[in-house]
């Protein structure tokens, strides 16, 4: 039968896609450290109620504005509450807030972006205009409006942030889908009678994995910053609960006497956003040839 039989496999046995990813990721030292930081933060968030050294809401007025020391490792705030314990519970609130906004943003932006980019034409024109309009709304103002209607609280505020940031996912998904739809493997799928919905789900979506990861990390960082901003304005987390943003807000007036009250939550926010962005970039740089082309 076939004269030429290609029994020869590639010389090197394949490194699994996951192992190759780990090898490339591992070479980026800073990203590895930052991934560790993110891991610890998630762990803290999950275990928060059990690992606080003291009751985060217990007020000991005698310890008011205590400097970091034996009694309060990271000091105490203006009501004499233990800062270390409050930071720990705040981690949970902050990560919940970031994740919620990101999920809302992605659930709205991604499917519409895929449709707009893949179908083009009228669908694209209409959806893109809506996205542009949404982009024009100042996120903070929109969140304030939503909170005014639905009531105060992290959840409402973060849903609002998710809605206003959805155009970011939309634009990313649309842009990548515009590129992917021109690939021959899409035409190949059409030529064997693959329906459009199946093409988008099985060919377009997997090929945008890495830009998607980057977008998730950026949006998450963005959402955490906004949560801080909203809580700072008193629109986010409600007392006595704490988020890093609300801790920052309360403490600004004591910045002179108790700088740690400002520094610690500020550093936590900075570190988390930095870690998210670094890890996102490193993931993008580490994905294999399977889907590197579009990043």
């Amino acid at each position: 039968m076939t004269a030429l039989v290609e029994k020869a496999l590639p010389a090197t046995p394949p490194e699994s896609a996951w192992r190759a990813f780990r090898r490339r990721f591992g070479r980026q030292r800073l990203a590895v450290v930052m991934a560790g930081v993110l891991g610890v933060l998630v762990l803290i968030a999950v275990l928060a109620p059990w690992i606080t050294p003291q009751d985060p809401n217990a007020q000991t007025l005698l310890d008011r504005l205590d400097a970091p020391g034996a009694e309060h490792w990271l000091g105490a705030d203006d009501l004499g509450r233990d800062v270390a314990s409050r930071l720990i519970v705040a981690t949970r609130v902050t990560i919940y807030a970031g994740a919620l906004a990101t999920v809302v943003s992605m659930v709205i932006g991604l499917p519409f972006g895929l449709l707009a980019g893949y179908l083009r034409g009228w669908t694209d024109a209409v959806l893109s205009r809506i996205a542009d309009a949404l982009m024009a709304i100042p996120p903070l103002l929109f969140a304030m409006a939503i909170v005014a209607v639905l009531g105060r609280g992290v959840t409402n505020a973060m849903i609002a942030i998710g809605i206003v940031t959805a155009p970011r996912f939309f634009r990313m998904a649309r842009g990548v889908a515009l590129v992917i739809r021109e690939e021959t493997y899409i035409e190949a799928a059409r030529s064997i009678g693959c329906p459009t919905s199946t093409i988008v789900r099985t060919h377009v979506l997997p090929n945008m994995a890495s830009p998607l990861i980057v977008q998730v990390s950026i949006t998450m960082g963005f959402a955490i910053l906004f949560e801080a901003g909203l809580s700072f304005l008193g629109l986010g987390v409600q007392p006595p609960d704490a988020s890093w943003g609300s801790m920052l807000q309360r403490s600004t007036q004591f910045a002179g006497e108790a700088p740690w009250l400002v520094l610690l939550p500020g550093l936590a926010i900075l570190l988390t956003v930095l870690a998210l962005n670094t890890v996102g970039d490193a993931v993008r740089d580490s994905v294999g040839r399977e889907n590197r082309r579009l990043v």
Binding site: A3, L4, V5, E6, A8, P10, A11, T12, R23
Partner: protein, 330 residues
């Protein structure tokens, strides 16, 4: 065909190119020697991954950051290009050596007229007034067969057809009267009827000005058309080099022989094939690199690196069984 009488202007000796990988450097061009004399065309043939393009890029010192010249010399009129500084090398590129690549569109800037681009290459190497450079550009466009060159010089690249763009690229390559023209698959992206025109143009320019032409191609028909001598590359090595008529009439390396038989002939005939695939550079066979795919493989083929053996003064082949196979053939 006789061996070149003239001294070669471009003489590549034992060129070694390494590519950096995660597992250390890999030798991808292994001891390649080539010589081209004025007015002569040397064809460099090979399939993808044979190292022919890397050889050309190494000659031009355009390897980029991942690959480097790890050994050998590239002598241009006696000067070793591998020892030149960045600035001197820039003088050589487009000066003494002109280049023509496969895709004419990428070689041209869509934002400038073709006249401006040709004049620009003139001015990059020679201090001449703008006006004079423009005049030279028009002359060059005329020389490469662009009709009404004064008018066409004011057009942008997208106004030109594929063949006309390749002519512009050739005009740019000729702008400083090079002694060597390096053409890497210059007709591959063109239609057959246009390919013929470009080949005729290149041959004419070579004969007119005594250019040494290094012509890289995978197309044996094109090689047969334009080359005086041919070097066949396989897996980073030259496996056979011979005058063009000898190579096609009496190939001595089994790879060359097999390659010539893969070409379509009459209708209904079955094509010859070469089983297997080109070896990866990190998994080269210990001896002859073609041995795993060779129809004439024998126990001795795997014993160690094979040298280029002399068949006759102008013909060399890298095969252990050179003499045995010659006897079988006769």
């Amino acid at each position: 065909m006789k061996a070149p009488v003239l001294e070669p202007v471009l003489d590549v000796r034992d060129l070694v190119v390494e590519v950096g990988t995660a597992h250390g450097p890999l030798v991808v061009v292994d001891g390649v020697s080539l010589a081209v004399a004025p007015g002569e065309t040397l064809g460099l043939v090979g399939e993808s991954g044979s190292g022919k393009t890397l050889t050309a890029l190494a000659v031009m010192r355009l390897l980029g950051s991942s690959a480097r010249i790890a050994g050998g010399q590239v002598l241009l009129e006696g000067t070793d290009l591998t020892t030149l500084g960045v600035k001197q090398m820039r003088e050589v590129r487009g000066g003494r050596i002109g280049m023509v690549f496969q895709e004419p569109m990428t070689a041209l800037d869509p934002a400038y007229t073709v006249g401006e681009q040709v004049a620009e290459t003139v001015r990059r190497h020679r201090r001449v007034p703008r006006k004079q450079a423009w005049k030279r550009a028009v002359e060059l466009l005329d020389r490469v067969g662009i009709p009404s060159p004064e008018r066409r010089a004011r057009d942008y690249p997208h106004h030109f057809s594929g063949g006309m763009r390749q002519r512009v690229v050739i005009a740019m390559a000729l702008s400083c009267d090079p002694v060597v023209l390096l053409a890497d698959e210059p007709t591959t992206a063109l239609d057959v009827t246009v390919q013929e025109q470009i080949l005729t143009l290149l041959a004419g320019l070579r004969d007119e000005s005594g250019l040494a032409l290094l012509f890289i191609s995978h197309d044996l028909g094109v090689i047969a058309d334009i080359c005086d001598r041919v070097a066949v590359m396989y897996a980073g090595q030259v496996v056979e080099t011979a005058p063009v008529h000898d190579l096609f009439a009496a190939p001595r390396h089994p790879y060359t022989d097999a390659l010539l038989h893969c070409v379509p002939g009459a209708a209904g005939t079955r094509l010859a094939t070469i089983p297997g695939t080109v070896p990866a550079f990190d998994a080269l066979p210990p001896g002859c690199r073609f041995a795993p795919r060779c129809a004439h493989v024998a126990p001795g083929c795997d014993d160690g690196p094979v040298a280029l053996e002399i068949v006759d003064p102008a013909h060399r082949a890298r095969c252990v069984r050179l003499d045995e196979l010659a006897e079988v053939a006769s």
